[in-house]
Symmetry: C2
């Protein structure tokens, strides 16, 4: 390396899928800011031009051509600076690449095409993209620089590792859109450090922030020096220009410390919900507030995301609702200052049963009556949603979604399921954390302390039908996230039969999850695109 | 080629995803039958052992090990014959292959690993499988034979084409699970003929029959000679052993002619519905019968699939229902001999509006009241479904699913959406065809002739809000199936504004489709896994 100073801005921006005009404007603004603040380079996240992931929009040639003309616009705005911009590239032979354009002083100086295309978990990149096969190496302030995209730096002994060696690269730029789950930011830091160390070079990693449908991108862009030390780090969950000056081995930049575990999850739920609602052009949200802990946590997040004047809470008690839950719902709504309605369902319930009396044909009331209560509530909330343009937030958690302890077209109704990937034990942790971080009672202690119940029949408790949530969540982690067979799951003090029964419930609820609303992914394996199970599935594990 | 006679059985079987024991039993039975009927070889469909597509079951090591032990069982049953069996292979290095085992006289004689892995449309094979890199060539009755799997023969100038040449192969076995859409069987025959001609060899193609979730496999297994003539062809949509004797250029076998266009679609809807319901262990189905054409067609299919005693039809009229539709619903149910209920929704509707009066806040009744009627009906049907274990069939068509002319948690409720991929114009064609093929009135003519209406407000007609269905369906075909931008869609006599408006409706209904039930794919691009669009999508085509 020479002693020239290299100055870089990492533009950690929030892109909007498909909104080429808004993304282009946001990229051009960041270039302008960089033209003021740094001498050399401004780097953007992966596919910043079209947002990530664009999915089947990529199959439309006209979309790709529109991307190309936007890139031309951006190119003309790079006077005196170099911008590295992620975009989907339609090549002359009709192939599509996940590419980065090197735009320098008004010219296209080169294109890098992503080599390692993830096609696991939530990723479908091989559905769209062809792998690139060439390095892009250039010089800046006397340093030899290479460009890479996301996955390229996650794989050891890849082409990139070879190219860095072959071309004596000093610094690798990495454009990323790395979907969040709890612990991922830490893992990502480790990957970048390892890359820098094994290749004995700097890495400048730019990560997207914001949310798209079920995915959250947490930012936390960073720079590692060639020893693998983190020498610059941006904030998480907010837009930022991270300005970095590199001279020899000395780096001058801010280093924002990583967030705590619960704060990171809380922020992911917050931005995931906020971006989904606002990017879809909606201003207000409504939810059913039962007095239970799940809807309480969702209400707390909604008020934080949209402000109390944009949140409407509806309590819909039945004859099975206790005074405790009814009062707690009202208390919480009043404390937070949200609009609150209490609308008993008993008349609708009775009228419906009356109309259905002949085909129901008597007999003991069963699960159909429990589900009917949930469906009446779901229809009421949707009627308000349709009338006023409020988006209905679904309040179910991951544990109940897993075992099907929820009603399709009832409490599963909604445009966005805020905590669908949050296991029940974590719902408790986050609820306590909500109060702690606010340093006041957001969620009444009585809600947190009450044993969970769906209140759909007299004296019902969740633990009548399910093992304690500490145990259920452990089973679910092994079965859902680790793809273990029941025979491989061993938990102290838990009978094998319990495990087998819970696994069977998970399999049987696949049809419900198929029709569930989207929600924020916060675990390594969320239900949805991350876990593609057949609905009809006759596999009986040995 | 020698003049030895090669005798083959193509076992066109219906496999069940995950049901390793049942599939193994079915494979062993077919081997036994082949031991009686042919001398040499019995060939099965792709992944016959585990069913197709097994999706994320493949990520469970224990599942793959269970498959391996079932393959061992089958191997021992191949005395005096060769069986070519599709199975998912867990290799020693942990890689997974889409493989075919050559089991000969009780021994494993070789394994072929699929090379060309489809990862477009409904396919995710690169999510799971590694590509094979070796041919499997063996001799049978003096002929040099090679094994291939599905996509391998669809690609020109592939490794397989090279291997056939290099090894002077006379005959290629092809194990397939080729998902159906209208016209696919014809296309598939063409692909096989082309393969045979260009490689100057026989092809013996075994295709799966039956349905799994949204996919139907239509059978139609076949043999082409080296000139590309079809010299053997099995039936479509039913299990069959196609026995083929090849001696020199002379082939002795049956040739079942291809089905007509409408019959093929009808059979796909029938087997798709039947397999989904019965493979999930359900015996009876219920549906809302409005007196409109969509629910009439679904009722006709349901009665054909399950028999009239296993189908329950429920008419749920409101104040907006005409006498015509009410009478037609009743008439059709009586004619078909299904259990029929008429349950007016007016009391529930009024009671619900009364409970909601404060938060609804007056004003003109709007779409919220239309949707509420649909949701009351949906909740009633689900209550009956839950009480009696009947699966609720959804009756919406593709055109209304496309533009969102349907109510989430209302008429979209159901376990299976029989005609969700059938455009409205085709609903009319199929309805007329139902009567024609039965040679009697299954669907009353008055239903077919009445202008479509949702009957959710006074004097409502579909064409008040939408262009005529002939035009709408043409727009949808261009936009949805052909991925054209609105500016590229030109239809005689249709204003550009209409096209833009319809495209906007399609984009805006993505959130509804995300929560829609599964249903039979019958077009080249169905909504669902076949078309993976972002829900939040701000793309405004240029």
């Amino acid at each position: 390396m020479t002693d020239n100073r290299l100055s870089i801005s990492i533009a950690q921006i929030n892109c909007s899928v498909g909104d080429l005009s808004a993304n282009t404007a946001s990229i051009i603004k960041a270039i302008r800011r960089a033209q003021e603040s740094v001498e050399d380079i401004v780097i953007f996240p992966e596919l910043a031009l079209c947002g990530y992931p664009p999915e089947d929009l990529l199959l439309r040639k006209a979309f790709l051509k529109d991307c190309k003309s936007k890139l031309e616009e951006i190119k003309l705005k790079t006077k005196g600076i170099t911008a590295i911009v992620g975009f989907p590239e339609l090549a002359e032979d009709g192939s599509i690449y996940n590419s980065a354009a090197l735009l320098s002083d008004g010219e296209l100086a080169g294109i890098y095409r992503k080599v390692e295309l993830p096609n696991y978990g939530v990723f479908d990149e091989k559905r769209y993209f062809k792998s690139g096969s060439n390095p892009l190496v250039f010089e800046a302030a006397g340093k030899r620089c290479a460009v890479s995209i996301c996955e390229d730096v996650w794989i050891e002994n890849s082409n990139l590792d070879l190219w860095v060696k072959e071309h004596n690269v000093d610094l690798v730029f990495n454009l990323s859109a790395s979907p969040f789950y709890a612990g991922k930011a830490n893992q990502r830091r480790g990957v970048m450090q390892k890359f820098a160390k094994r290749n004995n070079c700097f890495i400048v990693h730019s990560n997207l922030i914001g949310a798209q449908d079920e995915l959250v991108f947490c930012g936390g862009s960073l720079v590692c020096n060639s020893k693998g030390d983190i020498v610059a780090a941006a904030s998480q969950f907010s837009e930022e220009d991270l300005v970095v000056q590199i001279q020899g081995d000395v780096v001058s930049a801010e280093i924002v410390p990583p967030m705590d575990y619960l704060e990171e999850i809380y922020q992911a739920l917050l931005i995931g919900t906020k971006d989904y609602v606002t990017k879809n052009g909606i201003k207000k949200v409504v939810l059913g507030l039962s007095g239970g802990i799940d809807s309480a946590l969702v209400l707390a997040i909604a008020v934080d995301a949209f402000g109390s004047k944009n949140v409407i809470a509806v309590s819909m008690p039945s004859q099975y609702s206790s005074d405790g839950t009814k009062n707690d719902a009202k208390k919480m709504a009043l404390q937070l200052g949200v609009k609150f309605y209490e609308l008993p369902i008993i008349d609708i319930f009775k009228t419906t049963l009356n109309v259905l009396s002949e085909p129901l044909g008597g007999g003991q009331p069963g699960v159909e009556q429990e589900n009917l209560q949930a469906r009446i509530r779901g229809a009421m909330l949707m009627t308000l949603s349709n009338k006023h343009g409020w988006l209905l937030l679904t309040t179910g958690n991951k544990s109940e979604m897993a075992v099907g302890y929820c009603t399709l077209y009832g409490d599963m109704n909604g445009g966005f399921a805020v905590i669908k990937d949050v296991p029940k034990t974590l719902v408790f942790e986050l609820s306590r954390y909500c109060n702690k971080r606010a340093n006041k009672e957001i969620i009444p202690e009585s809600i947190i302390d009450r044993p969970p119940s769906a209140e759909l029949r007299p004296d019902q408790k969740d633990e009548d039908s399910l093992p304690p949530y500490e145990i259920l969540d452990k089973i679910l982690e092994d079965y859902v996230e680790k793809d273990m067979n029941p025979s491989e799951i061993v938990i102290d003090g838990v009978e094998h039969e319990t495990i087998v029964n819970m696994v069977r419930l998970v399999d049987r609820a696949e049809f419900k999850r198929f029709q569930s609303p989207p929600g924020v992914k916060i675990t390594p394996k969320a239900f949805g695109r991350d876990r593609r199970m057949p609905i009809h599935n006759s596999y009986k594990p040995s």
